[in-house]
């Protein structure tokens, strides 16, 4: 089925998906997804469970590679460069595209080491001082510095759920990614922690291209500038969040947004 695109000019497309499809074994999860995602903004993927929104998200940093039976087709470009080509090493790609998961997953290391992990494995810092600086900046950007500055050597798991999620975001930021993918980053958090993460996402958008998958329409409405609505493996509608929420064009989007379901 064809997608309804609102006529918004996206001049600074960071990520471009064209005719992307994913199959798991013989099951088709999504097909024919085409999207142009702007830089320095938050794009939300919404839709009912099993609509394929997470699957599409995971094509952008090739996390589907880690699932044996997943097959990705079509073209995914970041800054115009095809990432599914053989010449692109997923290890290098993932340094450019950070990812934050549903459940906060800090490594069982100190807060410092959690953030330093990426820069270390990729060799981004040439010395202790530089590493310190990266850690501090990342934690500051993630709005966590004030809360943890005096206990960087404590394990990341000792933090509260919301703090852990911000730590994970700091960890992603530390390798200076260009794109940050978030897969329901607040679904394991309470409303207070959720609000803080949303606040953080709103701040981060100044510097990154953020793509967020969310279960909660309200959250998509709050944090995103662009919204893509998925349904049964199709991209149904894509446009500015405000337009999607006040004046959706496709009947399925309309029904979903207004709470009229199958």
């Amino acid at each position: 089925m064809s997608t309804v695109y609102h006529d918004t000019k996206i001049e600074n497309a960071k990520v471009e998906l064209d005719n992307v499809g994913v199959t798991y074994g013989s099951k088709t999860a999504v097909s024919g997804v085409a999207l142009r995602i702007p830089d320095r903004s938050v794009t939300a993927f919404i839709g009912p469970s099993g609509c394929g929104k997470s699957t599409v998200l995971r094509t952008i940093n090739r996390m589907n590679d880690t699932i044996d039976i997943a097959r990705v087709s079509g073209s995914v470009k970041i800054d115009g460069e095809e990432i599914n080509s053989k010449s692109v090493d997923p290890v290098v790609l993932r340094a450019r595209v950070g990812m934050v998961f549903q459940k906060p997953n800090p490594f069982p290391k100190s807060i410092y080491d959690n953030v330093a992990y990426g820069p270390r494995i990729h060799g981004l810092a040439s010395g202790k001082a530089e590493l310190d600086a990266i850690v501090e900046t990342s934690l500051k950007k993630a709005g966590l510095w004030n809360e943890v500055a005096d206990r960087l050597d404590q394990p990341g798991t000792s933090l509260s759920g919301g703090q852990q999620q911000r730590l994970v975001i700091a960890r992603a930021i530390a390798v200076s990614p260009e794109v940050i993918l978030m897969d329901e980053p607040c679904s394991a958090l309470d409303p207070i922690a959720t609000a803080k993460i949303e606040e953080l996402i709103d701040e981060l958008r100044e510097n990154y291209c953020i793509i967020i998958v969310t279960h909660s329409m309200a959250q998509a409405a709050r944090v995103s500038q662009m919204t893509a609505f998925f349904h049964l493996g199709d991209l149904v509608e894509y446009g500015p969040t405000e337009a999607i929420f006040t004046n959706p064009r496709d009947q399925r989007t309309q029904d979903y947004i207004t709470g009229r379901f199958g």
Partner: protein
């Protein structure tokens, strides 16, 4: 036999009858409207059955104990038991039956009884430990008494030759019970076993859980489990038959080539062959415990690491192993405890000479070997020779207990982290 069989049968019939009587009674008092009962009719049945069975069985138990002391003829006592137990059962039944009415909480009574049975079962585990400690301690004390309380000589003595009979006037010379060679032998074999098992077990666990495809895993894992299921006596035979001679042959060959006497004097029953085979035995133990521990590391951590652009080995080394480390340490400690307590392999493959040596190609002996040596065959329960086995058992138990406690603590702490 036949009388008791008939008694048993009679009691079974009685108990079954009690159950149905209870159920029928309950339905009757409810005026055929079981909804009005507090408990379902079946519970009234169970209640009556229990109140029939308990007095009857109590009579049987008391009769069995009394019978021994009175020394009645077998037939009389059996018959008497039969009559008394049936009577007791009937008495219990009629008493209990009176209590049944609509408001009677039969279920609660039955459930309390079940609670008691369950609690009694779990106490057996404690009794086992008490039994172990008591028996070991009691016999060990007798041993220490026999060696004139020179426990230091037992623990730190360098010479072990319990075969020398100790006459009453020679008590002072019980230096023959110096257990250090045994400890050293145990330690050496355990060390060899761990050198084999720790890396092999750990790496196979890592490979299987992180690298191997589902097909490989499906084939290799059961194969490794076979290794775990093989009885130790088989490993012992394997060591004796294959590994021992092979090591000896290889050692002699190398020894002849290099002129190292230690190698030339290699024997079939050597510390190395026992240790090596024990190591093989422990591989699946280490690998399955490590596998559990590694699999308990949440997938989200792996995803997190891969999403940062880490390779598999980086993820394993930097994220999974640190996360699993306490669990792995616990697993290794448990493996050590197992190696220390392993008996058959060393009995068959390590020899019996109480040598105090650092040469793995020589034959050494271990605590467990000596216990077996001392306690198989005819035993004199007052000879220090026999009793010394219990002292060794006590040392073995104490050592493994300490290891286990530490290992379990470590593992438990680890588990709490991801629960």
């Amino acid at each position: 036999m036949s009388v008791s069989a008939i008694t048993g049968l009679a009691l079974l019939v009685l108990i079954a009858a009690a159950f149905y009587a209870g159920r029928a009674r309950a339905v009757a008092v409810s005026g055929d409207k079981p909804v009005r009962l507090h408990s379902l009719p079946n519970y009234h049945g169970y209640f009556l059955a229990a109140w029939t069975a308990i007095p009857a069985l109590a009579v049987v138990v008391i009769a069995t104990i009394v019978e021994r002391q009175l020394g009645m003829s077998a037939w009389t006592s059996a018959a008497l038991t039969a009559v008394l137990s049936v009577l007791a059962g009937l008495a219990g039944l009629s008493l209990a039956r009176r209590r049944i009415n609509t408001g009677f909480r039969a279920r609660n009574h039955v459930e309390r009884l079940i609670d008691v049975v369950l609690l009694a079962s779990s106490v057996i585990a404690i009794l086992t430990t008490v039994g172990i400690v008591a028996s070991l301690l009691f016999e060990s004390l007798r041993f220490f008494e026999a060696i004139d309380w020179r426990i230091d000589r037992f623990l730190f003595g360098l010479h072990w030759s319990p075969q020398i009979a100790i006459r009453a006037d020679q008590v002072g010379q019980s230096g023959a019970f110096g257990a250090v060679p045994l400890f050293a032998g145990t330690a050496m074999i355990t060390l060899i076993a761990m050198i084999v098992a720790a890396p092999v077990g750990l790496f196979s666990a890592i490979y299987l859980s992180e690298y191997a495809g589902p097909t490989t895993r499906r084939i290799v894992k059961p194969l490794l489990e076979i290794l775990a299921g093989i009885p130790t006596v088989v490993y012992g035979f394997f060591a004796l038959l294959t590994i021992g001679p092979a090591i000896r042959g290889a050692a002699e060959w190398v020894g002849d080539l290099t002129g190292i006497v230690a190698l030339q004097n290699a024997v079939t029953q050597s510390a190395l062959s026992a240790g090596l085979v024990m190591g093989v035995m422990i591989i699946p133990f280490v690998s399955s415990l490590s596998d559990d521990v590694i699999n308990a590391v949440p997938q989200s951590l792996r995803d997190g690491s891969y999403a940062m652009g880490a390779t598999k080995s980086e993820t394993v080394r930097e994220v999974i192993l640190p996360a699993a480390l306490p669990g792995i340490v616990g697993a290794l400690l448990l493996a050590v405890s197992r190696a220390v307590g392993e008996t058959m392999i060393v009995v068959m493959a390590a020899g019996q000479g109480a040598n105090l040596t650092g040469n793995p190609f020589e034959s050494v002996t271990t605590i467990t070997v000596q216990i077996v040596m001392l306690l198989t065959g005819d035993q004199e329960f007052d000879s220090p020779k026999t009793l010394s086995a219990f002292a060794l058992g006590l040392v073995l138990f104490a050592f493994t207990l300490v290891l286990n406690v530490i290992a379990l603590r470590v593992v438990q702490k680890y588990r709490e982290k991801y629960d």
